[in-house]
Amino acid sequence: MIAMHLHQLIAAERARQRPRLLVAGIAAAAVSASSVLLLGLSGWFITASALAGAAGIASAQAFNYLLPSAGIRLLAILRTGSRYGERLVGHDAALRALARIRPALFSSLAAAPPAVALGLSTGEASARLVGDVNAVEARFVGLSARWGMVASLVSGVALLHLAGPAPALATGAITAAYLLLASRLATGLQAPGREAQRAAGRLKETYATLASAAPELRAYGLESWAAGRIDVRSADLLAAQNDVTAGAGLFDLAGAAATGLAAVGALALSADQPLPMAALAALGAAMTVDGTAAFARGLERRGASWEAEARLDAVLGAAAPPLPARPAMAGAPVVRLAEPAALLRPGTVVAITGPSGCGKTTLLETLLSLRPVAPGRISLGGVDLAALPPGAARRCFAHAPQDAALLAGTVRDNLRLACPAATEAALWEALRDAAMAERVAALPAGLDAWIGENGARLSGGERRRLVLARAYLRPTPWLLLDEPTEGLDAATEERVLNGLRHQLARTGQGALIVTHRLAPLALCGSIIRMGEVGGRDGQQGPIAWTEQEFA
């Protein structure tokens, strides 16, 4: 998908949902207007009744009570019905928009430069993205509030006009001043809001640093000291939040004061009017301000919502223009590494070894175009990887990642990721070759068993084998296996390697196997040893291969 700006996406959805948003807006307007009219009319009715009653029985009999009392009941029902309609239709519109915005966002993310995807694989980054998307949705639900605000203002001013221009103008002015003040307050709240967010970031950073140093904390008895340091950061966050709360309290204060001023002002300004009109003015004015409160409170979240959109825009805006399409590679490509010079012919099985941190995993991720690569470093089928569209490179590789990343879903969902068209028999064969078939068969729901978020219901070794089965199902010329037998006991490792041998013999695939363990080396025709080459003292270099040897 082509890079798309979020506001375009939102605008498109708003256009699409226009009929529903219109209905929700009209319903919101009906709620506000009927609230204003209900209280205004009730005040007028009671006062007029009192006057008519006091004037004697004849006057009371002559008073037309049917129309106002029927109006009051009608307005009560109208208000209830409209509120129900507003909520239902408003949520429907938001859910419909959501059903399109999320996939569109996801698709844009998938098209973004590879660094974006890898950056989001930490829980923190993805959680923030999801929070931002939720903020955008909340905005959709709140869209009808402005209709209510406008309706409240219009119906209030029109109703109060019956009591003369002065109370109408005063109420309009007080409401406008209130909204202006609310907008100012909302702007003023943005800085404390951001500060609170930064404080939360610092708290997380401190927590992560200390929680990662468990052995040192234990050896030096520093656990409660660490908790104390985190506590200081936590107190900073809470203090920053206090400023936000104090600011939010001012919204309440402004709203209540405006309501009181409007009611009292309208009453005072209609002193020369008949009493029923004064009553109408006082209650109508109070409800006019009240009807705009939902919109004013929405302003409080405006800053956060803008920031969320700006962040999402930054992610989407980073989406790369699609590279010019090239003809698909015919057959299995040769992989050539420039540094060190290594030529990997199709069908060969190569081990990659070396101490942790020397860039073995990075090499596999680079081949998959999950990381950027400098021109001239790696070529695939004679074409520089840097010039290939990511799709063309990915088509050549089936990956079993080191972190054994799985998707939340069933066993079948995860296997089908590699080959949506795979038959039942093919799924079981892949599971057998990964020494995972018995385990899956023993699950109560078999292939349809839910494995939890990132395979949480499986053990580490089971996740690894499932990831292996998934890679086997993808019909590609090369397998990229990152530590395929780590964490497996010797017997299971033996079964997994036999399965791998079977898979390789059956498909004629080539394989790059990153491994720390010795057993997988038996399958490999050659070994690439990656060393530690750093620049200065202790600095890790970029991807570096110092030495390779062919057995």
Partner: protein, 553 residues
Amino acid sequence: MSHPLPDKQRKARRQAWLKEAARAGGRWNGSATGLLCLDGVAAIGFAAALAGGLASIGQGVGAAWPWLALGVVAATGRGVFGSLSLRAGGEAARRAKAALRRRVVVASLGIPAGERPPVGSLMTSAVDEVEALDGYIARFLPARRAAALVPFLILGATAIASPFSAGILAFTLIPFVLALALAGGAAADEARRQFDALSRLSALFADRVRGLPTILAFQAEAEETARLAGAADELRRRTVGVLRVAFLSSGALEFFAALSVALVAVYAGFNLLGLLPFPAPEALDLPRAFFVLALAPEFYAPMRRLAAAYHDKQAAETAADRLEALEAMARTPAGGARPIPRAPAIRFQGVAVRYPGEDRAAVEGFGLDMAPGEVVALLGPSGSGKTSLLNLLLGLAPLTEGEVLVDGLALSEAGSFAPSIAWMGQAPLIVPGSIAANVALSRQDASAGEIARAVEQAGLDAVLRARPGGLDAVLDERGGGLSGGERRRIALARALLKDAPILLLDEPTAHLDAAAEAALIPVIREGAKGRTTIIATHSERLAALADRVVRLG
């Protein structure tokens, strides 16, 4: 609803947990509620001011001004009480969150290695899930307590002016409560399911975003986009039906709120006209009638406020379940054996370490006899259990089988030998502060002279000479500007400062280039003198300094 009992028990436990968490808010909880109740009192004052003002406005603004002034004061009072209640609620939440976070942090640091969720997930619990209690304590709880009191205040004030109108309000309350009792349970269930479904969709989205590298590697972007679209669309179709019911309870609230206003208005009007179809129960006048009318909307206002805070409750309950589970995983660390005065003999006998939920034991049948002061290098690839053996002595890994004896003291009894251990790893802890303070983490009462000696032993002084500020140079959170070798030397100085009889080194030279490693090796050899030392490493060069090399894996 197929297992009502466990569900009920779970709910009760969750409620107790939340109540306990909220208790740390102390008297601020009560203040938030009390201020909301004062808001109700001010509402009564405002209604009285309008009624009085209306009754006297006929004689001109001059006659009505005390009432008008009362109106402004009462309305402003509502605002003040409302915003103070928000602040008091915020303060209660602040205290409760601070106490809860402290508890969660201590618990999360006490979860044994191997059972520990990833740091990112712990961080989410300690920060975001604790934050989820904010709205619950700051808004929902005060609103719930006020909703039990304020309507009766309003009812009482109404009854003083017009007992029959109070009767009308109370009368609308009965069907409202009945409607809530009959449909409310179902509606709350529906609302809960709706909330769950939304969070599931949100979780699916989060999962696919996190799993994006995998999806890209398998070129499944299109399928997964379609799946997200399908799930969102299905949620929408199901949810609209659910919402129809879920909004019924808020619809009922609206309906009875509007109905109470309409009934009071119509009754008061007919009473004033003398046209009631039944004998008038009371004689109303305009001020009273108007007072009652102006007060009628306030009767349902507390319940509407409560309904608006319902999401806060659901968010808090979700967080409560997760935090409770996390706390259940924590174990108070064993105090550990008393410090041992001099380098001990260490004997591993048939030791196995097996982490819960793992297929394979991290270490199995490991035996080793170390003489006092001996230096042993454990050499082997990653995953061969070197780190687990070191963690075992600290009580950070479970001793599943066998025994470790340190000078005859059994690990299974002591739980940990942490008080006698100095540790150095490949990613030393660096905290903001001076280098001296970073070194002194292992012994915070150390004198400047002791620190200087440890720094010298670790070979850190030579490095520091080139650095402005020397030992007093201040490091930031990330230890910016320190090279890998400098970090290790800080960690080594820290270990030497503790002057413990057991020294454990976990990959002390990993990620260092050959020159940096070569420079560090003699310093480590010096530091290990007079201590029983275990070095876990994959470096043959480092292992060569040991008295004995044990190969694993």
